[in-house]
Symmetry: C2
Subunit: 106 residues, 2 copies
């Protein structure tokens, strides 16, 4: 399972960010709500650093009433493009897998 997430988790986070800006801790919480209960915080933050460095998100520091300032991530144009590519790849894979699961004609 953990291996299956590779590459996919990034797409999932991009999809979450497409719904609106969010900060790391919040994204982790949303992932848990979505059923991904056992994804480590460290994993999410590392992923966010990656997509920031690749320029897929805009970042803004926002002070928090509780705890250290939040790093709010907003999906930008490049990020939306990456998300589209992700959905395309995912669609291909899901389609192939669906064929394999029942009746592999062709």
């Amino acid at each position: 399972m953990t291996e299956m997430l590779k590459g996919t988790l990034e797409g999932i986070v991009l999809a979450l960010l497409a719904l609106g800006p969010a900060y790391g801790y919040e994204i982790t919480a949303r992932l848990r709500d979505q059923g991904f209960a056992d994804i480590a915080e460290g994993t999410v933050y590392a992923l966010l650093v990656r997509i920031e460095q690749r320029g897929l998100v805009d970042v803004e520091k926002v002070p928090s009433e509780k705890g250290p300032p939040r790093k709010v991530f907003t999906l930008n144009a490049q990020g939306r493009e990456a998300l589209d590519e992700f959905w395309s790849s995912w669609g291909f894979l899901a389609d192939r897998l669906a064929h394999l699961k029942e009746g592999p004609r062709s």
Copy 2:
């Protein structure tokens, strides 16, 4: 895309083997037929070594009319169990992703 295959490719190969015994070269060809055009031969052989070492397949050497002897892989009980687990994990992931793609209620 190549990252998204991690973990998934193993399941795909197990699913192919569930259709009947096959050897490496044949599996590579089948993958290409299935649309996975750019999967390197070396990748498939390495994967087959892994699933053999984990005891998911039975192996038999069969002489070939053309070229060196073939290593024919047959999915065994443990392999079928692993395949079931794979479909279960895949089902979960595909379900979550489908929710995310359109209308993320919950």
